[in-house]
Amino acid sequence: MGLMTARKITDLTWRVGGPQGGGIETAATLFAQALARGGWWVSARREYHSNIMGRHSYLDVRAARRPTKAFFEQVDLLAALDAETLARHLGQIKAGGVLVYDPAAAKLPLSKLAMLDGAAYRRISAQLGGGDPPVERAVERYRQDGAVLLPLALTQLAREVGQALGVDAITAKRTLNTVAVAASLALLGYPSQPLVEAVGAQFVKKPKLAELNRKVAAEVYRRVEPLADRRLEPVGDGGERLYLNGSHASAMGKVAAGLGFMSYYPITPATDEPFYLEAHPEAEVVVVQVEDELAAVNMAIGASMAGARAALTTSGPGFALMTEALGFAGITETPLLISLYQRGGPSTGLPTRTEQGDLRFALGAGHGDYPRAVLGSASVEESFYDAALALNLSQRFQLPVVHMMDKYLASTTRTLEPFEADKIKPEPGLRAEGATGVFPRFSLASEGGVSPRLPVGAAGAGYWITSDEHDEVGHITEDPELREAMMEKRAAKIEALREWLGPEEMYRVYNPEAGTLVLGWGSSQGVALEAMEGLDMGYLQARFLLPFPEIGDLLAEKKLVVLDYSQSGQFARLLTQETGNKPDHLIVKYNGRPMTIEEVRAAFEAVLAGTAPKYLVLRAGV
């Protein structure tokens, strides 16, 4: 078989698809860990429906000899664990790539796929010539498109191996994932040892399962290895590297900056962070699940007023319930960090898909004018350092900070060098020591709008805090002059913060000499950088959205392109608002799927060729 023989493998994408709840995440972890242990830089992204069991889900694992930043649309190897995967991923295998599937699943007619929704059914049926085609016709189409077919009776294989090992049918079926991974790795000629180790790590708390899966893997290797015609080699060892996702990184970043308190209300994809901290008492964070997001945010504010470093995570719907409290933190100058994990909006929208559509909301959230900072992370690694920075900022400037994350970051897992946690110091903030009596918590004699803090409950002193406009000790005032002074004091934080950060923290620019500059923020960075390799293009990543970096000079006389995960191009509007510049091209995506390197590359080439429209929608994605 001609599996990728022509070129040395430097970059490989493996996809596994199957029903939600069927364990394909485990499959992806095993595959990724096996390669990571062999020194490959791996990353895995996950697509799934808002459903607990049964609907279609898939993961892509990319392995490369160098760290990567994004994913391709087309895969080298697709392991289809069910018929629906076969139907849905038409056109997704590279020419010369491999389709591993179970021929038994391919017998079904399309209409028998219970979880295939109407729109997908109609589209696939049309692609396959109409009517109610059997899924086999899809397999045939993959073949026509240049994929190598590798029919393997996966389910039967799992059963047989299970039987051989003396386990019952249900348990045996649970090893299907290991079967798929082992078959794929064996096909690629990758040694089995790293997989065996990965299995051990995966089932470390369930030795029996570990044993079973190891044996399954060995047996599959025995059967499939002969089919491999090339060797995917380990390129080293995993070394000290970590394998984690944006949620983990963000949680760790906060811990590094001294996080003490986190209240939460469950919501996808934001609560992986508190769950993670809750499950790890070694983080020493008081984590409290509460009755709703109103409670979550106000409880964190209370904890912060008492002197704890407090943060919380949420996504759009929950953030919507927090906007009143955001202004409360603003007027009371209370440090508060909210990580906003964006997902497909509006409203409940696409709860498990990615988007950057909450930017405008975050920037304007809360009535009236008050200082806040908004920053966005572009990668798992940045998530760590930014979370720490964000928490520190909130402490130093005594204001609410919104740290923009998204579903893509939350559910993208990658290998990384360990974080340099010891380089991060919890920002002490300006504290008043030994104050007694009535304390001017909101003193106007402040620099950069920051008055010394004393937590509530500090012995011997006292003051008030109110959501109303107030005087220096925190009593309500409606005096026009005092009001003006307080507004001006609070507003001063923004420029002080800008100065403290410096331009390096506020934005990053790549290849600034190029005549065409792509601008964006957050998750669109990685794919832009990979897509523009070798092109005469630069990229500017706005790390801070508020305050907005002073980038006007960099834009002069360039062709400007904005790349954004939102239909209206929210970042483009912000750019115009802040600099007066309107982009020449706005490239957006809003179908909830991550941008692929191929489609972004094509769009960039069209821009350079002068054939791109002003508004261009990226539509790739399964």
């Binding site: 995993g238 009755e291 704890a308 470093r309 002490p428 409950g457």
Partner: protein, 306 residues
């Protein structure tokens, strides 16, 4: 230095209407804290928004005047961050039983060691006298354009359903007994609520001093025992609850005040200590800086590729 009652008063002059029941509540609270010798600076008073919410400005302590309906979550945040503080949350009936009702139910499940005061004047004082959730169906105090179309909710019953371990009612014009009640509530280990009948002479012309005076009485004085021991048989539990329900729903010619329910249950802080052994000695607000990199290292360990 000996603490004086005056040490619990701030410089700020109240701007409540003459005769407002809030004066009595403020005074009772100051008395209770004073009697218990709780340092003003170790007490944090937390309110929502409303006439009642202004109370915190008139006491010398730390006072947090939050958002409408959000006093309870803020108060819980303070308490959890620094469990050694005395935390008193307070709310108007609209604030606490209307917009804040969800938090009322939520905190009931937690049994934090806190005191919660409901200023029950049956109206939304601050927004000019609309019906509050405790106003009776069909009642029409002077600001209402038409008789109240909604039935009232009973704070005592709701607290019981939510799981409060100390449930009481006081009367704002009876400062002495109210102060005593607050003291008992503060001494209770767990979540204590006092529903305070608070006349609002400006908007509630139905339930005035004259109306209440002949009606309120002390359940304790009549031999009512609120205690519900930790271990109870089904029959005993049923009997206690029935007794509670009867008193809690009594209203009209006679209006009971005093403690209605007092149960024992581990506090939320204690439960939390079960997961985090260094809490509350090293509570998040007081533990200071240090050890962060070690914590991160411990977390990273779980993510090592090999």
């Amino acid at each position: 230095m000996e603490l004086k009652l005056a040490d619990y008063k701030s410089e700020m002059a109240p701007d409540w209407c003459p005769g407002c029941g809030d004066y009595g509540i403020l005074s009772a609270l100051q008395t209770a804290l004073y009697k218990m010798k709780i340092e003003p600076s170790r007490a944090v008073l937390v309110s929502g928004i409303g006439c009642s919410a202004k109370t915190i400005h008139y006491a010398a302590s730390y006072g947090i005047h939050t958002l409408h309906g959000r006093g309870l979550p803020v108060a819980q945040g303070v308490k959890l961050a620094n469990p050694k503080l005395t935390v008193v949350a307070m709310a108007g009936d609209g604030d606490g039983m209307g917009i804040g009702a969800g938090h009322f139910v939520g905190i009931g499940r937690r049994n934090l060691d806190m005191l919660y005061l409901i200023f029950n004047n049956e109206v939304y004082g601050m927004t000019k006298g609309q019906a509050s959730p405790t106003l009776e169906l069909g009642a029409q105090p002077k600001s209402l354009a038409r008789p109240n179309i909604q039935a009232k909710v009973n704070p005592l019953m709701l607290a019981f359903a939510a799981g409060f371990t100390f449930i009481a009612r006081g009367y704002a014009y009876d400062v002495k007994n109210l102060a005593r009640l607050m003291q008992t509530g503060l001494e209770h280990r767990g979540l204590a609520m006092i529903d305070i009948l608070q006349p609002c002479p400006t908007y509630n012309n139905l339930h005035t001093r004259e109306w209440f005076a002949p009606r309120v009485y002390d359940v304790g004085a009549e031999g009512y025992d609120p205690r519900a021991p930790r271990e109870m048989g089904d029959a005993e539990r049923a009997e206690r609850m029935a007794r509670f329900t009867q008193k809690a729903t009594e209203w009209g010619e006679r209006i009971p005040t005093g403690v209605f329910w007092q149960a024992e249950l581990p506090t939320f802080e204690e439960r939390l200590g079960g997961f985090l052994p260094r809490y509350p000695q090293e509570a998040p607000a007081t533990r200071g800086v240090g050890g962060e990199a070690k914590r991160v290292a411990a977390l990273m360990k779980g993510h090592r590729v090999a």
